[in-house]
Structures are given as C-alpha cells and as structure tokens.
Subunit: 230 residues, 2 copies
C-alpha cells in the first residue's frame, strides 16, 4: 500500500483482465485514470460499453477514449480486418512461435505510446496493463521482456522530471488466477466483454472465449455473462 | 550499398531532415515507402503538401497517411495546442534539461509504433527517421539512446520472423551537415517545410526556422524557400 495518492493510467479495454487491473490500481491506492482505444476492432461498441460501465463502477473521473484509425488502416489482423476470419478453437495451436491471426501488429506498443503521452501531460506515475504471458503466449507484445524493453524507452524518451512505470500485475497469472482474483476483489465481471466476435452474446468458440471459459471452469465458478453456445 | 532490394519505411514529415532521409534510403538501394502523420499540428496542411511533393519526386508507390487525433486530444505542446504560443528566438535556451514547449509528449514513440505496425504488414526491413541529437537536443525522444531502446522493443515485441531495423542516418549531423548533404544528393529543398507557424511563408523566428537558417548560413548557401522576415 502506498502512502501518497498519485494518478495511475489503467488501460481498460473492457475485458476481464483490464477490469482486474483497474481494481488492483484502486487497491494499490492510486487515483485511476482510464484509457480506451477504438481501433476498428470488430467489437468496438461492446468494448466501449464495458469501458464506461467499469469506469462508472469505480468512480473514475479522468477518462480518455482515443480513436486510432491506423491499426485498421494497416490491417493484418482478424480483429481489425473483416476479410480475415476470426479463428475458432485455435487456442491449442498457439505457441510461442505461432502467432495467431488475431494478433494486431505491435498493438501494445501503440497503446503504451499513447498512454505515456497522456501520462506526461497529466503527471501520472504508473500505467497498468493487463497482459499475461502465461496461458496464451502467442502474442509477442504480451511478454515480460517486451514490457521491460518498453520501460527503458520511457526512461530514455520522456522529460527528465517524469517517472512513469509500467505495471503488469497479471503478467504471470493464468486465466484461472485472474478469475479467482477478480472474485476476491469483487470485480463486476458481468460488465466485462472478452469475445472477439461482434454479437449480442459471446460466441464461446473464439480464442478469447475459450480461454475465459477455461478460466472459469478451473476456478469452479460460473461466468456471469451469456454465451450463445451455452 | 545493399544487393537485394527490400522495402524501407521512411518517416516523411515534409521537413528538410526527413527529405534527406528519403534520399538516403533511395541511395541505400531500398524501395521507399513513405509514412506521414497528421496529428493536429498547426502546419498540418503545409506538411502534407510537402510529403506529397517529395513522395512524387522520388516516385514512391507505397504511401500511408495516418490521422492521429490523440496527440492533439492529449495536448501539452505548442505544436498541437493553440492555447500555447510557439516560442520565438528560444533556440539558445534549449538544453538537455530544458525541454522546449514545442515538445509533443513522446511523439517519436507514437510515430515509431505506427511505423513498426506497418512494417510488419508490408514486410519492410528498415525504418528511416531523421532525428538529430546534435543541434537542438531539447527533445528527449530524439536521442540515440531512445532509438536504441526502441530497437529493443521491436526485437522483443514483433513476430519472430520479422527483422525490422531503425535507421537514424542524421543522428550525429548538425543542421549545417544536413544542408550540405541535401545539396550533394540533390534533394529538392524547395519542396520542404520546417516552420512551426501556419502561414504562407516561413516565419523565420520559431526554433525550427532559426535552426534551418543557421544551417544554410553556415553551409554558405541560400535557402530555396521564402521567409516573411527576409
């Protein structure tokens, strides 16, 4: 627990991991400021709703929603390019050398760069990001070494008087750990959205749904959102 | 000189430094692909015109112009925030510990992140950026150590099969060196735009104009663009 209150930016996609990050920033005695990106992902609207509900729940005053058109302009991912299908039941195939087609090229570097720009202006001391390198390690920009390298970019590339730290509290947690910790901290799981498809109910078969369902199963708890296939 | 032709992304703001970078990428036997950012800077229109003229001059086929709203949304710089005046005759005051108010927080990290995302998709091998740490070293994200750190982020955060290198050919050049090299390589200097003010003719008194004029004076050559104060 820290003594003095300072601001932490929380990258809040609206997924379960980012919701836990927000709860942890509050627990760590930071004043949270939430940042959300619309980057042309299929589920943009659902994610933005989740962002607003979660920010309201935690009484977040400072919020920034950024429209990032270039990631969909650039393409190369099933999340931003409607010509590339979202893979089903592909989770087992993902390995460290097999990057899934949902990978948005260098997305986390783009997100962190925006967060750091904002942090410099609002004088935030920390940036919480809910990446995990355990369960689904196919994304190169979700590994500890990537965040360590980015920390060094922040240290060298910002004003000398700033002191901004990337905090990755979930980096070594499994999805099951994340479900358990979210329950312990009373995170409103029912407000979160993880599915890669853009439907009213979660599809239950994309990588993200499969991983979430596995987490809940292993945590022996029933998810609070609805699935098409359930 | 390299043997096989591969693609290099050139960050082409439209200023003199970026124009020289484009000429150097061509000289280095790369196929240039040019990237330009509209980020709400005062001189957005002038810079975009310069980008198009320079890209045409060098027969660039692959071009990407990205609208980045978040830097002006975030603010904190005289270049993107009309409430902050562009400093005049402030060049002498700039030191390593005195960041000028034209500094756009963490801009180069944002630009490089976009360039790397694009490089992954079009399979580019290099990213040319015309930063110099010599003359005007007040910007923290223009130093060699910043680019070295960012290279490490690329190495850790992109697909294993990619091999993308940041190239900073001007990093240790003075503005005078840049003017001389541009003349040697027949860079069409008359197409470039450096001024931070948004007028028909360059103001001649902002940091960027002063530095440019100093470079031409020391290179003993007359600039080919028009200045209000000349």
């Amino acid at each position: 627990m820290r003594d003095e209150k300072s601001t932490a930016i929380v990258l809040l996609s609206g997924g379960m991991d980012s919701a836990l990050c927000l709860a942890l920033a509050v627990k760590d005695n930071y004043i949270p400021a939430t940042l959300h990106l619309n980057y042309g992902q299929r589920t943009q609207k659902k994610e933005l709703q989740a962002f607003e509900k979660l920010s309201n729940y935690y009484n977040v005053k400072e919020r920034l929603v950024v429209d990032v058109n270039h990631l969909s302009q650039i393409g190369g991912s099933s999340l931003t390019d409607s010509k590339i299908n979202v893979a089903e039941n592909a989770i087992e195939e993902s390995t460290i050398n097999n990057v899934p087609n949902s990978y948005v090229p260098f997305r986390n570097a783009n997100i962190l760069a925006i967060a750091v720009s904002w942090a410099e202006v609002i004088n935030a001391k920390a940036i919480y990001i809910g990446a995990s390198q355990v369960d689904f390690s196919g994304y190169p920009d979700c590994k500890a070494e990537f965040f360590d390298a980015f920390q060094n970019v922040i240290n060298t590339g910002t004003k000398p008087e700033t002191n901004i730290n990337i905090i990755t509290p979930l980096i070594n947690l499994t999805k099951t750990d994340i479900v358990r910790d979210s329950l312990k901290l009373n995170v409103p799981i029912e407000y979160t959205w993880s599915c890669y498809q853009n439907d009213d109910e979660a599809c239950g078969v994309c990588d993200s749904c499969l991983l979430r369902l596995k987490g809940f199963k292993e945590a022996e708890f029933q998810d609070k959102i609805k699935y098409k296939s359930s």
